[in-house]
Subunit: 139 residues, 2 copies
DNA sequence: TAAAAACTCTATAGTCGCTATAGAGTCAAG
DNA sequence: CTTGACTCTATAGCGACTATAGAGTTTTTA
């Protein structure tokens, strides 16, 4: 059963252009072509694209996904590398959550500096933004 | 007191190229030039760049910062817009934290599928990544 | 004083993961 | 047989930088 790119897009929940982009990036192998030069995809492509999209939904980068696909294509290897990649990814996610929570605390404290509407020149928020406290800044 | 771009970079904790980029983007006004065509910055530029860097450290986009700078340059206006911009930013931050926590839960459950090192073809993680459960995917 | 090192200049291309556009070709239904 | 939906390639744009090349300027060192 061979399907065209539009059907593959619907099945996988991503855009036609994105599929062509994955092909250009070497994540999806080049499919067969019809007489009119349309791409024809088979089950192998469908499953592989779903794998890619699932990884993307987990916020993995395309180069991480490239690595996982490479591992997947060599099934006799040890899967310790897969675990390691995932562990790194989990740790990065935790770090980003921490950074964002810190950021939010900072934003909330800034927001408290202006209680109501007044003139810009008296606004505590803008004044708070001028005071420099970020790393590397020697003001 | 006029300083050159390298000193401004050190003071503000950002790179020389970034300062030139901000100038090109209209966030920093064009500075005076020395006889040898070097940029010469004054206190006004220093303070403005610190404002920009502080906003960036709060993860604001350059267009948000452009708006804040515009408000700052018109001090007679009402500062309700500043508050509104910040409120939107805080809400976006909360949403991103929520999304990342969800993501982390997903990654952790995936990680549990592989307890130790075995052959790739038996690895529960890669199999978990093939099962498709993300929105829009009809697999 | 001259050479070397450090700094600055402009202009251009690359990063990532797409998204958008233009202009042409292919195919199925009315 | 024409309309409309689909597909093709190639190219440019997004945001916020980063990197590079090649030239000019200033400061330090010998």
């Amino acid at each position: 059963m061979e399907i065209r790119i539009g059907d593959l897009a619907k099945r996988s929940g991503c855009e036609v252009v994105t599929i062509r982009y994955y092909e250009k990036e070497g994540l999806l192998p080049k499919p067969a072509r019809s007489g009119g030069n349309f791409r024809l995809y088979s089950d192998v492509h469908i499953e592989r694209l779903q794998f890619i999209r699932h990884c993307r939904s987990l916020d993995m980068t395309l180069s991480e996904i490239r690595i996982l696909l490479g591992l997947r294509d060599n099934p006799a290897q040890d899967c310790g590398d897969v675990n390691a990649l995932l562990d790194v990814h989990i740790r990065q996610t935790e770090e980003r959550v921490e950074a964002l929570l810190q950021l939010k605390r900072h934003l909330l404290s800034l927001r408290e500096k202006c209680s109501g509407a007044r003139r810009i020149e008296a606004c505590g928020i803008l004044q708070g933004l001028s005071d420099c406290d970020h790393p590397g800044c020697n003001a």
